[in-house]
């Protein structure tokens, strides 16, 4: 593995250095029909699940075939996508904000052939490579975070939980029988680097045990003031402690003490200090939230609400998670009105009915007790249903 230089000279880092150029301009990448008709589109329709047609003032039509992608993908997989773009779509493609892949072609016939081709592509284990769908009033791809694949504070895996939920809901990806679109999102800890707090259904990894303190090493690996300052709830303070070392010596060390009852399990202290690990096999698991949205359509955007306080981690296939989400989806699909999002439905029937119809259990954990916003979630009226 000999080192191959790019041309960069470490002795003179500023030599020929190019900085602050930003991304490529999108016009370098637009398919010709898109570039030609930009800003003059008239209307669109969904010809069938996974195929969209956009009509421009010029009379031009563009047919888009949408297929699901894993957000986590290899360069080999991307090269396959490129080969499809070359073969069917003039070498152009785009990704959607929900990790789907779109190819644009000129006629419905081409789109149907492409759809058929995409749906026929299978992976070595038998899963689809490019399942077509994710349009209209259905369930599209689940956006997610890194999880155990690459993050230091996750309470679960992201790619795995998303895979099993999408396996469970697979037929919904390829059809459009929901009352409105259902946006599912996944974040693997409460920091939500994928902001899932306004999703129809949100899957959230959650820790339930405060950090464990590596007293013997802490002062060697971390700066105590930084660990103290990292805590958003002021639960960490510096202290001295008499410990017995791994070698059996007794000594007094500088370390920290944690007020466990204050801990909100965010992991910020672990980011600053590797001697405060947080994750724990039995402590960690999942929260399910529901009823959020970002669209302004009919009703205002709204936050997702906690509807399941805890589901244990059950790798590799998280059966309880998949089953619970199916329960919510089915209750919604059979009871909501056309155009009604999950949150609009829950508000119309009342959250007391939401728990009844979904079969989810309500507990004290669903009553907000965190700071100011909590009060506005309690019921200040006699208008409720028995």
């Amino acid at each position: 593995m000999a080192f191959v230089s790019s041309g960069y000279n470490p002795e003179k880092p500023m030599e020929n250095r190019i900085t602050d150029i930003g991304p490529r301009h999108f016009s370098d990448f637009l398919p010709p029909v898109i570039a030609k008709n930009k800003g003059t589109w008239l209307w669109h329709e969904i010809c069938e699940p996974g195929i969209l047609m956009h009509k421009a003032e010029s009379g031009d039509e563009v047919y888009t075939v949408r297929c699901g992608g894993s957000r986590l993908m290899t360069v080999g997989h991307i090269r396959e996508i490129c080969a499809i773009a070359d073969k069917f779509a003039g070498g152009h493609l785009r990704f959607t904000t929900r990790n789907n892949i779109e190819f644009m072609v000129g006629t419905l016939d081409e789109a149907k052939k492409l759809k058929e081709y995409l749906n026929s592509q299978k992976q070595s284990g038998g899963s689809h490579r490019f399942p077509v769908g994710g349009t209209g009033a259905g369930i599209t791809n689940i956006v997610h975070t890194q999880g155990w694949v690459h993050c230091h504070t996750p309470a679960t895996d992201a790619s795995g939980t998303v895979k099993v939920v999408l396996d469970e809901l697979f037929e919904e990806f390829g059809q459009m029988r929901m009352p409105a679109q259902v946006r599912i999102s996944m974040a693997c800890c409460l920091n939500m680097c994928g902001a899932v707090h306004c999703s129809d259904i949100a899957i959230l990894g959650y820790h339930r045990k405060p950090p464990v303190i590596d007293h013997e090493w802490l002062d060697n690996l971390c700066e105590i003031p930084l660990a103290v300052a990292a805590c958003p709830v002021g639960a960490i303070r510096p202290t001295k402690k008499e410990i017995v070392t791994e070698k059996g010596e007794t000594k007094t060390v500088n370390t920290v003490a944690i007020k466990n009852e204050r801990c909100m399990f965010c992991g910020n202290c672990y980011t600053m200090c590797p001697s405060l690990p947080l994750s724990d096999q039995t402590g960690d698991g999942l929260v399910i939230m529901a009823g959020g949205k970002v669209s302004n359509r009919i009703s205002n955007p709204k936050f997702s609400k906690v509807v399941v306080a805890f589901i244990p981690n059950e790798p590799p296939r998280w059966p309880t998670l998949a089953k619970t989400i199916r329960q919510i989806v089915e209750a919604y699909a059979s009871d909501a009105r056309k155009y009604e999002r999950v949150g609009d439905w829950a508000e119309r029937i009342g959250w007391e009915r939401f728990f009844e119809k979904t079969g989810l259990e309500f507990s004290e954990h669903m009553i907000d007790d965190f700071r100011d916003p909590a009060y506005y979630t309690w019921r200040q009226t006699t208008n409720f249903k028995f």
């Binding site: 999108f26 589109w41 010809c47 902001a195 724990d280 936050f303």
Partner: protein
């Protein structure tokens, strides 16, 4: 033969949805075969070891990654996230496994040529694993070693004319919906504004000096496909202030069942014949629509542009002609004080090159936040702490009823001395002339 047995992960190779496990296994095999004789700059078994350490997490239910804060490219305070595994002896291929965030073109259109260049680079100098795309919108390259960072940056900037994205206390890589490129509802060129603002503020993006992260997102219309209202400190949402354009013939075609409502989005279930009263007029949140002599009427002055009627009848109704955008500020996920939606700051602004008015708003907000914001305080939290009125003042706007859902619930107005006639300086002797002690 795989380097590590992965019986748990193997169970994710079944089921219809694309399996990331199968994909990574295939990549691991390709690396070992190395048919193109790539001079790998990170260990050849990096994918095997990634699967190995992930299997370990599946077994023990905990993560095996540690955070690193030092690594980056010279002169940039963001774009690279340091990662180290906590079992380097067992999995040397991923001992150092840093993330590189790469600025994506707005709207995320690509040519296969460009993506192949990226693949060649990342196959040679990284693990070959990516996220297309990360939650903020960047192209995310997962897993490389420290000596490769400058090399990757050099190749990206020199060969691909592409820069890194943001991380840390920076402006984060801005993102836009596909906007006018393929959507009839785009009220401004979201991609272009996103690109221009990204380039205008490259210094803020690469050299951290904010109290915390700061995100811009650009939605072409109130449908909000990039969720700017929920997850950007400054959210730019397209809107219009004149009349919705109506094609009455198309309205009649919808009523007559010739055109599928909502672009055919509900075709998977029999919802019965389209009923314009029930599905459009009764669902209008401001009740500003009605039918008269077979024609659809809209009282546009009362319309709040929620998009429902346009979404249901895209061939009959079109956005107005006097278009621009609204700016909302302060959205964030729940950490720490609870989630916040963006609050309306600028009801309407035109989107015109060179975008000076928009830049003034941005810079006014930044100046205020940089002066007043505490360490690690998001803009939304500062607005909560000091009040929306301060944010409005920071950009030199006049408060209007559009700024609130409803007026305040308490009379505790903190009057300023200059706003009260005669000031606060009073003489106790004057008071005593009329009041005994």
């Amino acid at each position: 033969m795989a380097k590590h047995a992965t019986p748990l992960l193997d169970q994710l190779q079944s089921g219809p949805w694309p399996s990331f496990v199968s994909d990574i296994k295939e990549e691991a095999e390709r690396r070992h075969k190395n048919e193109k004789n790539v001079e790998y700059q990170v260990p050849v078994d990096v994918c095997d070891d990634l699967l190995g350490i992930l299997e370990l997490s599946y077994k023990d239910g905990t993560t095996h990654w540690k955070h690193g804060g030092i690594v980056g490219v010279f002169g940039y305070g963001g774009g690279v996230i340091g990662r180290y595994c906590d079992q380097p002896q067992m999995f040397p291929g991923v001992a150092h496994f840093h993330t590189v965030r790469v600025a994506q073109p707005s709207g995320m259109y690509y040519t296969s040529e460009y993506l192949r260049q990226l693949c060649d680079l990342w196959e040679m100098r990284g693990s070959g694993l990516t996220n297309m795309h990360g939650a903020t919108g960047d192209i995310v390259l997962l897993g490389t070693t420290t000596p490769q960072l400058e090399e990757i940056f050099y190749e990206l900037t020199h060969n691909m004319n592409t820069d890194l994205g943001g991380s840390g206390s920076n402006l984060r890589t801005p993102a836009a919906c596909l906007g006018e490129s393929r959507c009839e509802w785009a009220c401004y060129d979201a991609q272009e504004l996103c690109h221009q603002m990204t380039n205008e503020y490259q210094d803020e993006l690469h050299r951290p000096a904010f109290p915390y992260k700061f995100k811009f997102k650009f939605d072409g219309c109130p449908n909000g496909c990039v969720a700017s209202i929920a997850r950007s400190d400054m959210s730019f949402i397209g809107t219009w202030r004149d009349e919705i354009r109506i094609d009455q013939e198309a309205v009649a075609a919808y009523v007559g069942g010739e055109i599928q409502p909502n672009g055919g989005a509900h075709a998977g279930k029999d919802w019965g014949a389209f009923d314009i009263e029930k599905e459009v007029i009764d669902l209008c949140p401001t009740e500003c629509m009605w039918m008269e002599d077979g024609k659809l009427k809209i009282n546009d002055r009362e319309c709040t542009r929620c998009m429902h009627c346009l979404n249901v009848m895209p061939r009959a109704l079109r956005i107005g002609n006097d278009r621009g955008l609204s700016i909302l500020v302060g959205a964030k996920a729940p950490i720490l004080d609870g989630a916040q939606m963006g609050s309306l700051l600028v009801p309407f602004i035109k989107v015109e090159e060179p975008y000076d008015e928009i830049k003034e708003i941005i810079e006014g907000i930044w100046e205020w936040w940089m002066e007043e914001g505490k360490n690690r305080e998001r803009l939304g939290e500062l607005i909560k702490r000091q009040g929306l009125a301060k944010a409005i003042a920071a950009v030199g706007l006049t408060p209007v009823p559009q700024h609130v859902m409803e007026p305040r619930h308490n009379p505790y107005i903190f009057w300023k001395e200059e706003d009260v006639e005669g000031g606060w300086d009073r003489d106790i002797a004057d008071y005593r002339k009329h009041h005994q002690r």
